[in-house]
Symmetry: C2
Subunit: 296 residues, 2 copies
């Protein structure tokens, strides 16, 4: 392990701890009315996941030179949106997945109706969180996050994904689907962190947009590789589903080796992109390393 990686691990651990506290504070207590819904919301959000999207917000805020405190609402909002999408994706009418982050998924632990409401309420809470922050660029943040969440972002990607099951997709169609499904929120997570600053120079936004698009793509390619090669226990979710559901993936379209090469190229491009930014970009470099080198 290099010195830079060691520093990143500490940075990541401290920010993962931080976002856990922030989320716990932002989520209503499970004693608040209605207790069952609030307990289910906390179950779905807290104590799980690598918090990659929150880390992206914090890392981008650091590059934008704004104190970590100002990025708390961004980090919380993107994690709430991500958690909402997982809860709804796992439902029987979608991916029908019983396992999430090593625990029963929300609808298994509670029930389908509660899971539906949990997702709905987590989405509202994300926007409430940003609106209450009173940050100078809060409206811009809400605009970016709403667009990334809705039909021209994540929800649109889910719809494209549903329609593509059992079909052989072109590489372009696959990229389009993933750019909507996961890329849009990864991009929003990064930009929200940058917009946590009082003002954000356009060149920085452009760099972060390219960075986050590379990361969104790399994230998905790695996900496809892991689904094809890892076991459920390692993943904390059901493995090998893509092949069983005959979904087009980067692995099925490119093959395992070419998929790995693509990830390495994206990582290399990202390093070059961040080179001019010195140490302030170390967290973004660390996240790129984490995304591209996840155990495979």
């Amino acid at each position: 392990m290099t010195t830079a990686e060691f520093v990143f691990d500490r940075w990541a651990a401290s920010h993962q701890q931080r976002i856990e506290h922030v989320l716990s504070r932002v989520l209503p207590e499970d004693t608040a009315l209605p207790p069952r819904l609030h307990a289910a919301m906390r179950y779905a959000v807290l104590g799980g996941g690598k918090r990659v999207r929150a880390l992206l917000s914090y890392a981008a805020a650091e590059l934008a030179g704004t104190p970590v405190l100002t990025a708390d609402p961004s980090a919380a909002a993107v994690e709430l949106i991500h958690a909402f999408s997982l809860v709804h994706d796992d439902m029987p009418c979608m991916d029908d997945d019983d396992l999430r982050r090593g625990k029963p998924s929300c609808h298994k632990q509670y029930d389908d109706a509660t899971a539906l409401l949990v997702g709905d309420a987590l989405q509202s809470l994300a926007f409430e969180c940003l609106a209450e922050s009173q940050a100078p660029q809060a409206l811009k943040q809400i605009q970016v996050l709403a667009r990334a969440t809705g039909s021209r972002g994540m929800c649109g990607g889910q719809s494209l994904d549903l329609q593509s099951t059992g079909q052989q997709l072109s590489l372009t169609a696959l990229e389009q689907m993933h750019q909507h499904k996961t890329g849009a929120l990864i991009e929003a997570a990064t930009l929200l962190g940058a917009y946590a600053a009082n003002q954000t120079p356009l060149p920085l936004i452009n760099t972060l947009t390219t960075y986050s698009r590379h990361m969104g793509l790399a994230f998905q390619v790695v996900d496809d590789i892991l689904d094809a090669t890892a076991d459920s226990q390692t993943l904390g979710k059901t493995a090998g589903k893509d092949a069983r559901q005959a979904k087009s993936t980067y692995v099925s379209l490119l093959g395992l080796e070419a998929a790995r090469t693509l990830v390495n190229q994206l990582h290399e491009h990202t390093r070059a992109l961040l080179a001019p930014y010195g140490q302030a970009a170390d967290p973004l470099r660390g996240i790129a390393h984490f995304i591209c080198e996840r155990s495979f």
Copy 2:
């Protein structure tokens, strides 16, 4: 029909037409990617309903003295949230209702997964719409709408409703459930219209809060009365469900006559509340009349 009612009918018709145009413009075209999701979103939102929530926004904006144009984003946002809630409520894991506004409900016309995504994406679109308006009080509007939509508002009310099915509720518990389930959004619709102005005096906010709470309650009592007395064709949705599902309603707790009396009292209080405001409050008076005197 009195002169005032005639004027209100024209006002309502013109604003119903207006919101239909606004919603049609705000919703992505069904040719935009992904077309199936966008078609389903348009199906779920356009061409139906009395648009009571949009009318409340427009009427409150009129009392606040701000041009109708400035209330378009508020009116659209509250109708998008309302439409999202109907789509999710009708799903098999919730109320399992096949009929909505006289047409097959969204999951019957499309499929469950699409209906889930339609609701999710309509919620995002509501906040996108408010954030893009760049109105002076847009953040306040988003805060109010997010709070009214989430676990301490509408979604929380759905959860309370689910837990109460088959149980005999106290009148207090019933009111709490409906204040969350329908009252919160009716209040938000009204306040969002008032916040469309450059600034909104606190006494006006207080009046509108009381007005909208009365209307939220009246709306629900009338809904219960209609469910018990009207047929499905008149309602445009399945009638008599409350009794079949053994739900507590104002009719089951108070009886039909006392429920009617309650509505009349709320209407009377509302008239007194608006008395100081002169003609600028005519639309709000008209809506109160409409809500309280719906065919029963």
